[in-house]
Amino acid sequence: MIDPAIAFAMAEQAFQAANARPGPEAYFRIAGKVMALKFADAALATKLLPAFAHLEALEQTTADLTICCWNDFSNGVEMPEWTGEAGVHGLQYIDGPVRMAWEIEQRSLQAYDPNRRLALFYTPNVSELATWEQGAPFRQILHWWSAGLLGLQLVHGAAVGTEEGGVLLIGRSGAGKSTQALACVGSQLGYAADDYCLLELGPAPRVHSLYGSGKANEASIAMLPRLAEAFRASPIDQQGKSVIFIAEHAPEAMLRSFPLRAIVLPEIVSGSSCRAEVLSTGEALRAVAPSTLLQLPGDRAQSLARLSSLVRRLPCWRLYVGNNPRAAQPILEAIIASEATQESLSAMKPAS
């Protein structure tokens, strides 16, 4: 056993050795902050950068967060090996001066030192990098980083809207939030996220896009004619999902940030019609908090308090969606325009 801070230092040393001849760097603005990505291996940059291609790219500058990335092919450096009990898939250390998460089978590491705002990302073999990791890289690190900043919260949710305002689509995996968000591509509503985004809390909450990716299984792809060709040209992962980067196929649809007007919980129903009804704050918190907290270890009491404060402040709706998610767009637009009442939405005819 060693002190987790020493384990962090060992991993950092491995990166420094791997990056002895520095590889590519990229700088992006997220929620007004600067994220620097340093890659010891160009192939790793090729895999991980597309998820951020829609963000504002910056010249080299002082960063609020630096993520150092490497793999076994970076300069031939060996990574320390960590182990765990049989049957355990991962190790995590989340309550000390550093944060670490190690996936035993995949031998991948995400680690963060909040004092230096320095993060480490290691994966052994770039060619075996999971598609979900390429679609939403550094999720753990971005959670730890944002948790340490006043008023930011990474959330499990999709987001669509316009520059003037939008909604957060919440719910557990499979609830329909990705499909609903992707169905907005090509409509009046822009796209900011299908699974994870950053919330800026405070009196005027905002959504900040993190990833420009979208993922869908075959059933969802059938409901997404605008993106079906792109999805079908992408490899299918073990969960039967394909990942694409929206900026490559519909760059005009991407939104980096917008004021958050409401929270919407989609629920898939039979038929093609859509309708909405008011959702209680308790139901909204139950839909967004467990899935966010259980996927993002660390700072959970604070995360729950932040999400609770958000659902108290914003209108919350349940959106019943049939087999044509595009039919829900007028309802979403009315909710975003803050013109929605239970009566007005009940009377609204869905778009064909």
């Binding site: 056993m1 002190d3 320390p80 960590w82 190790l91 918190l285 259980l294």
Partner: protein, 140 residues
């Protein structure tokens, strides 16, 4: 008997008369309704079941026995779910004041297990300050 939150494994929030409680180790989450949220608030504030029942009784003595009984059962259920831990009643003192928000109604504990698969698919060992388990070292 007094109790405290199992704060290593559990987080909670109370909003609009509903307590939402998440057990981070099991992936189970709970909704406490009716007087459930009041009892939860009282227990976390350090009040005993008797003290909470007295406040919920609001001077209607004919109801007291039933309220004590239902509050006791509710607290036992919370203990068996691993949400609260019994502590030494002699040394513990209430931490905050506590006043029920509403008249007594039989507490309800709704249990949701639909997120457990997230943890079952990907079991994680949480490392403490005792140490990070090193197998090999760099260059070995």
């Amino acid at each position: 008997m007094r109790y405290q939150l199992n704060d290593h494994d559990v987080v909670s929030e109370v909003l609009d008369g509903e307590a939402i409680v998440i057990h981070l180790k099991s992936g189970t989450y709970y909704s406490m309704l009716a007087s459930g949220a009041d009892i939860w608030n009282g227990l976390l504030a350090g009040f005993s079941v008797d003290e909470i029942a007295s406040r919920l009784t609001r001077g209607v003595d004919s109801e007291r026995a039933r309220i004590v009984d239902e509050t006791t059962k509710f607290a036992s259920e919370l203990v068996s779910e691993g949400l609260i831990i019994a502590i030494d009643a002699d040394t513990a003192r209430p931490l905050d004041d506590f006043e029920p928000a509403a008249e007594f109604k039989t507490p309800e504990l709704q249990k949701y297990t639909d997120m457990q698969e997230l943890l079952l698919v990907d079991p994680i060992h949480e490392v403490t300050d005792a140490g990070w388990p090193l197998r090999d070292t760099i260059g070995k």
